[in-house]
């Protein structure tokens, strides 16, 4: 069964460093998402991406964040200068098409900012 994959599973970085979180969505999916979950809290939407551009973003997704689909298979989330409060689990999700389509989630990347 096709699945969304994410790498790395755990990333530790120093405050102020740039990190890139990688996701490989399900191959025929068209809509891509990033969510984050700070430990013990609810899952929060960051950004959605369709047709090579951002379709929606939350207040959390400020200028420090960017997304890219560089090669037609990977979908990346970049944090330019990490802060302590960026420590969280980051989930990638993808969806096939319009209508009642399930968002399939990846296993997540745990980001720890020291």
């Amino acid at each position: 069964e096709p699945e969304v994959t994410q790498t790395p599973s755990h990333q530790v970085t120093q405050m102020g460093q740039e990190v890139i979180l990688r996701c490989v969505p399900i191959s025929n999916h068209l809509y891509f998402y990033w969510y984050r979950q700070i430990l013990g809290q609810k899952v929060e939407f960051l950004v959605s991406f369709y047709n090579n551009e951002i379709s929606e973003k939350s207040e959390i997704f400020d200028d420090q964040f960017s997304v890219e689909r560089p090669d037609g298979s990977n979908f990346t989330l970049k944090i330019r200068s990490t802060k302590l409060e960026d420590s969280a689990m980051y989930f990638c999700a993808s969806r096939a098409g319009v209508g009642f389509g399930e968002q399939f989630f990846g296993p997540g990347t745990r980001l720890t900012v020291l």
Partner: protein, 116 residues
């Protein structure tokens, strides 16, 4: 903006018994989708069940069923014959049908413990 509220931070149930998790939401939209996701200790988000708001019939998936009350904006999850593997965080989520606004809005979750 839509909001989702789960008023039960924790619930527990005896194995083989039935438990109901509550969820309410607020929206001005007339059509939308509702979901229940399960997050086991591995933290992977797994879809349990989904409901389209225009459908009056409650969704059912094996031991999982929902009680969807559109007028009351209530969407509860019933788990029958609870099993040890059901232990997890359960999140209720809302999604608009409008293109460009397809994010999932999650509640704060309910931690379900299964007592052997």
């Amino acid at each position: 903006a839509q909001t989702v509220t789960q008023s039960q931070p924790e619930m527990s149930v005896q194995e083989a018994e039935t438990v109901t998790l509550s969820c309410t939401y607020d929206t001005s939209e007339s059509d939308y989708y509702l979901f229940w996701y399960k997050q086991p200790p591995s933290r992977q988000m797994i879809l349990v069940i989904r409901q389209e708001a225009y459908k009056q019939q409650n969704a059912t998936e094996n031991r999982f069923s929902v009680n969807f009350q559109k007028a009351a904006k209530s969407f509860s999850l019933k788990i029958s014959d609870s099993q040890l593997g059901d232990a997890a965080m359960y999140f209720c989520a809302y999604r608009s049908v409008n293109f460009g606004n397809e994010k999932l809005t999650f509640g704060t979750g309910t931690r379900l413990t299964i007592i052997p």
